[in-house]
């Protein structure tokens, strides 16, 4: 992003800012993500890159919701989705809808959140890149409502899909959700086995939030 700004290539600068924003959102470095998304949004609004402005709003909305400003995040994602509709693109909408559902869940409106997640699942069943996360988040929401069996089914479905796609990051997240659910039951051995398998697959990145959490979870599940 710095290089593109230096070369006065604002289009690439916005793209780079967005890419960094999404990446750090995935990695749960939310402060960092916010720091790159704010200038990316400003640049795209100033130079009327409407589709990038919409994408930046959606991503920044999710990041802010995760930073504890859920209501603000929901409003921003809705604004971004409106922008997507105006531009007419449907590329990646399942991810933005999933993020909206997550932000709504964080703001405490579980009914709305579940409805949004259902929409995300129905929107474009061929868009699978983010679907495993969509399923996992639906599981978390259902767990919050006390529907333990439904939640468990979602986590398993998310794990299976992530495996079929070799999407290790999503697989790790779904297994962690399942492990948290199973840790107080008689099936904690099964949880520990799955978690240690996926944890040991990784060869680096042990300083990322997900792997730090996975390690802590494993340590709490002695065999």
């Amino acid at each position: 992003m710095r290089r593109a700004v230096g070369e006065n290539n604002l289009y690439d600068a916005v793209l780079a800012g967005l890419a960094a924003g999404y990446l750090h959102d995935y990695m749960r470095n939310f402060e960092y993500a916010e720091a790159v998304l704010v200038p990316a949004l400003e640049l795209s609004e100033k130079h009327q890159f409407s589709q990038f402005a919409a994408a930046a709003q959606c991503c920044l909305g999710h990041v802010r919701a995760r930073l504890g400003r859920a209501a603000e995040g929901v409003a921003l994602i809705n604004k971004g989705l409106k922008g997507f509709a105006e531009v007419g693109t449907r590329l990646g909408l399942t991810r933005e809808e999933t993020n909206l559902g997550d932000a709504q869940g964080l703001s405490g409106v579980l009914g709305d959140a579940l409805e949004t997640i259902e929409e995300a699942l129905a929107l474009n069943p061929e868009e699978l890149a983010y679907r495993s996360e969509t399923l996992r988040i639906r599981g978390e929401l259902r767990l919050n409502q006390g529907h333990i069996e439904l939640a468990e089914a979602d986590f398993y479905e998310g794990i299976a899909l992530a495996r079929s796609m070799s999407a290790k990051a999503w697989e790790l997240r779904a297994i962690m959700s399942l492990a948290r659910l199973l840790c107080d039951t008689s099936r904690r051995d099964e949880a520990r086995m799955m978690l240690s398998d996926i944890y040991n697959w990784f060869t680096e990145g042990f300083d990322t939030a997900d792997l730090i959490d996975a390690k802590a979870l494993l340590d709490g599940l002695p065999g």
Binding site: M1, R2, R3, A4, D12, A13, L15, A16, L18, A19, A20, Y22, L23, Y26, M27, A85, E86, G88, T89, R90, L91, G92, L93, N124, E126, E127, L128, A129, R131, L161, M165, S166, A167, K168, A169, W170, L172, W201, F202, T203, E204, G205
Partner: protein, 297 residues
């Protein structure tokens, strides 16, 4: 000077009566001089005052006055009623029309007219007139409802919604046209470019089933045309399509090949700074999520 209306006395220099507001001076239609309100002839040029004004006005606008008077008389036989009128036209239509062939433009406008008319009719309105790219509709005539204003507002919103969907149409129509033209001329390089564009349209619509084969087709064309820039773009399309379909391994393979092609293509102006791990934007954008999902660099 005396007012011709209330007969109050006013100063000679005044133009209007300070009591009743009536005009105190009569302007000569021929030379423009001011005369007393009761004067029959202009004190400057001798032109008859009252009569001559009517005569010269009539000379100037004779025909329109007669014909419009007839229309007005006919209208009086109609009925006075409340009417809500909705008018809408396309923003920036002149600019769009300049970019398209007349046939394409006609198709776009016809599509828009159909869409607008459908929305208007659905809410009980009556399409009164098409004016170029504008549509005028009545709510309350010939059929009246107790909420015509609301119906008009709702029809307006429905038109906006429908137009959003139509907005992609000019790009899609133009691409189809370009593909047909390139095929006719037999220009491989252009055909490769336009098939890639077609694929990009499908990708942006989230239609990966269409985008995938188009990406493959454009790649083959680019190889035959021996154009590295087109090769790179086709690969980009393949990467994006595979990525969003969740085929991360395949996206990564396409990516490695595409990166090499981009470097060879001269797409980046400074060849001493090829796209690399150190900070290239294209790689960053495409690789970030992909690599993360695969869990390895």
């Amino acid at each position: 000077m005396r007012s011709p209306n209330c007969h109050s006395e006013n100063l000679d220099s005044r133009k209007f009566c300070s009591e009743c507001g009536a005009g105190l001076q009569r302007r000569c239609a021929r030379c423009g001089a001011n005369n007393a309100p009761t004067a029959k002839f202009c004190g400057e040029c001798g032109t008859p005052l009252g009569a001559s004004v009517v005569a010269s006005d009539e000379a100037l606008v004779a025909a329109p006055i007669h014909s419009s008077a007839r229309v007005a008389n006919r209208d009086i036989t109609g009925e006075r009623r409340h009417l809500t009128v909705l008018f809408c036209d396309l923003v920036g239509s002149t600019a769009i029309s300049a970019q398209l062939d007349p046939e394409e433009w006609r198709e776009v406008v016809a599509g828009y007219h159909r869409t607008a008319a459908e929305a208007i009719t659905r809410f009980g309105g009556h399409v009164a007139k098409y004016l170029g790219d504008g549509v005028m509709a009545y709510f309350g005539w010939p059929e009246a409802h107790d909420n015509d204003a609301e119906r008009a507002a709702r029809a307006g919103l429905a038109i906006l919604d429908a137009i959003t969907k139509l907005n992609q149409q000019p790009a899609i129509v133009a691409t189809e046209h370009a593909v047909a033209l390139a095929e006719k001329i037999g220009n491989l390089q252009q055909l490769a470019t336009w098939i890639t564009s077609k694929g990009m349209n499908a990708l942006l619509a989230g239609d990966y089933r269409t985008a995938g084969p188009l990406a493959h087709q454009s790649l083959e064309l680019a190889i035959r045309a021996d154009n590295p820039a087109n090769l790179g773009l086709s690969r980009l399309l393949q990467i994006m399509t595979s990525y969003w379909r969740g085929e991360f391994g395949r996206a990564e393979q396409h990516f490695a090949v595409g990166l090499e092609l981009f470097n060879k293509s001269g797409y980046f102006p400074d060849p001493s700074r090829p796209v690399s791990d150190s900070g290239a934007t294209t790689r960053g954008y495409l690789a970030g999520p992909t690599l993360r999902c695969n869990g390895k660099p």
